[in-house]
């Protein structure tokens, strides 16, 4: 049973990683070195792109940066934090809303319209925040002033 189970896991795992369907049954290998070599071998040239994976990582990196910007805004308010907030807030929000659209909007036309609208909204948001930072008191100062009410 052990060997059958590991053969099953191995072929399923291999299919998932290399995106291939076995047309012949794979040889039963319980040799650990061979198994490791076959699972961890770098994918071939027509393997799927890493775009989705890199995007996921970027989302987490941006989230962590945003977390750091809050204490930074409190301790070092000023244009550096203001413009960083404008960028990171817009980016984090844009990517978040993009996932919401992906989850709830279906149908080719609706998706294109919704994503188009989102891109316009995010572009406008970033522009407005930068404009506010440049011509007005800036995000950090605005929050401080609002909170002093």
């Amino acid at each position: 049973t052990c060997i059958t189970y590991s053969w099953f896991c191995f072929t399923v795992l291999q299919s998932k990683i290399l995106l291939t369907r076995p047309i012949v049954a794979s040889p039963i290998t319980f040799d650990r070195l061979t198994l490791t070599r076959q699972i961890h071998t770098p994918p071939d040239t027509d393997a799927p792109s890493k775009a989705a994976s890199l995007h996921w990582i970027s989302e987490r990196v941006v989230s962590v940066i945003l977390l750091g910007l809050f204490p930074a805004a409190y301790v070092y308010p000023g244009p550096v934090v203001d413009y960083s907030l404008a960028l990171i807030l817009t980016l984090h929000g844009h990517w978040g809303l993009y996932q919401v659209i992906t989850d709830y909007v279906h149908g080719e036309a609706s998706v294109i319209v919704a994503k188009g609208f989102l891109h316009v909204l995010s572009a406008m948001t970033f522009t407005g925040l930068c404009y506010f930072n440049y011509t007005n008191v800036g995000i950090c100062k605005a929050v401080a002033m609002l909170w002093s009410l």
């Binding site: 978040g96 149908g107 925040l129 008191v137 009410l149």
Partner: protein, 143 residues
């Protein structure tokens, strides 16, 4: 080994095309499944995120469109002479979604590291997030 003919994306697209065409009724899900704390916290995380994003976009639009500087509008609000309870409530209402989303966001990042998936841990971290949210919202509103 034969390379697959369709990608995941293509298969997803085909799935939705077929389903829309057949006009199948959707199985009841939110209307029949028993609500749990993790479910409610998850949708609240999304809700607070969307609300804040739209709020920031509104602020941004106002910044582009309104004629006067920020202190002018702040003075307008000050001239309304709103009571301290109302001001505290308004600050709490602003601080709450930010606190919740931040603390629950950290909980998400911990999950992304692969930790805290046992059911008990999910409930414990959930309750911790709720407690921290209430405390930090109350604290921020008092500042």
């Amino acid at each position: 080994m034969v390379p697959m003919a369709t990608t995941a994306k293509e298969e997803m697209f085909q799935f939705w095309e077929k389903n829309t065409k057949l006009n199948r009724p959707m199985s009841p899900h939110v209307s029949v499944y028993k609500w749990s704390l993790p479910m409610m916290m998850s949708i609240t995380h999304r809700g607070t995120g969307v609300a804040m994003s739209l709020g920031i976009s509104c602020f941004s639009l106002a910044a582009l469109v309104l004629p006067e500087q920020f202190p002018y509008y702040l003075e307008l609000v000050k001239s309304l002479s709103l009571g301290p309870v109302l001001i505290y409530s308004a600050k709490f209402a602003l601080a709450f979604p930010l606190s919740y989303h931040t603390w629950n966001g950290i909980r998400h990042l911990v999950w992304d590291m692969g930790k805290g998936f046992k059911m008990l841990q999910v409930y414990q971290s959930g309750v911790l997030v709720l407690a921290l949210t209430l405390l930090s919202s109350a604290g921020l509103a008092a500042m």
